[in-house]
């Protein structure tokens, strides 16, 4: 009986050490859930920066890369050259969601830094982005036929692109 208890204690101890060792490499549970597997929010009348109405079926068909940006966002400015490269070199269509921005500031930002977007949705109050699950800028969503297959919170650069997005193209 004594041997069994010693053996059980040893097994329990090893299991505990193994469990904690594994949890060191586990993804952080504190991360906010990404929006993968979901679709785009409905019931919004979306306008482009130029005032034209957005055709929502366009967003729900084929491969769509949505990038949340703002003129006041420093990380967006860091990310911007890579987005320019994506649209120019890789010929990938990127649609912007201009998040909580003034129209004039947004247009000046694109004039100054280049416009990698085929168009940008003007989400001036951030309500569309809020329903989409955006917590700030920049964030990037990859949609295939209306389903979010990749949601990146933070900057997309070459390394992130190669690791998380490139295999979809």
């Amino acid at each position: 009986m004594k041997k069994i208890i010693v053996l059980l204690t040893a097994v329990l101890l090893i299991a505990l050490v193994w469990f904690f060792a594994l949890s060191l490499n586990a993804p952080k549970i504190s991360n906010v859930k990404t929006q993968e597997g979901k679709g785009l929010p409905s019931g919004f009348e979306l306008l482009k920066l130029n005032g034209e109405k957005v055709n929502e079926t366009e967003l729900n068909n084929g491969i769509v890369l949505l990038n949340v940006w703002a003129s006041w966002c420093i990380t967006c400015l860091v990310e911007h050259p890579f987005l320019n490269e994506l649209s120019e070199t890789y010929n990938i269509d990127v649609i912007g969601i201009n998040y909580k921005d003034k129209l004039g500031d947004a247009i000046r930002y694109l004039d100054k830094n280049g416009d990698p977007y085929i168009y940008s949705i003007h989400d001036y109050d951030g309500k569309y982005a809020l329903k989409l699950g955006v917590t700030g800028a920049p964030e990037t969503f990859l949609l295939i036929d209306g389903e979010i297959v990749k949601h990146r919170v933070g900057e997309v650069n070459q390394q992130v692109w190669d690791e998380e997005f490139s295999n979809f193209f």
Binding site: N31, L130, G136
Partner: protein, 127 residues
């Protein structure tokens, strides 16, 4: 002195106008609910802290959205469900123990089982 008085007058007038504009339409009871819910929902952009104590724009947006849901007669559970469906259970703070009692009962169950095992072993050994 006159400039200082002008500054404080403008500051306090603006402060009260701003406070008055937030969450209009909520009665005292609903405001209490809003505060309680905001205390129990984590700011998704911050490392720590709830949306009550956070100045992040997303926290303000979420508080406004919760106020709208209260006005739309949503229950607390429905509001928590909306938030956790969008951001995951990570967003829920204190009230999570009521929603997942098993997680919090597990240590107690383990303790009771351990005490039982030790007691049975000791009784058997003494015989």
């Amino acid at each position: 002195m006159k400039n200082l008085a002008t500054f404080f007058s403008i500051f306090f007038i603006n402060f009260f106008i701003y406070a008055d504009q937030l969450y209009t339409g909520l009665d005292e009871q609903q405001l209490k609910r809003l505060n309680h819910l905001s205390d129990n929902i984590r700011c998704p952009k911050c490392s720590y802290g709830n949306i009550s104590s956070s100045n992040a724009p997303i926290s303000k947006d979420l508080k406004e959205e919760i106020a709208q849901m209260i006005l739309a007669k949503k229950t607390d559970d429905e509001i928590y469900d909306t938030m956790s469906e969008r951001y995951g259970d990570y967003i829920l703070l204190n009230d999570v123990e009521k929603r997942n009692p098993l997680i919090f009962l597990a240590p107690l169950i383990a303790l009771i089982i351990s005490i039982l095992v030790v007691t049975i072993y000791t009784i058997k050994k003494s015989k």
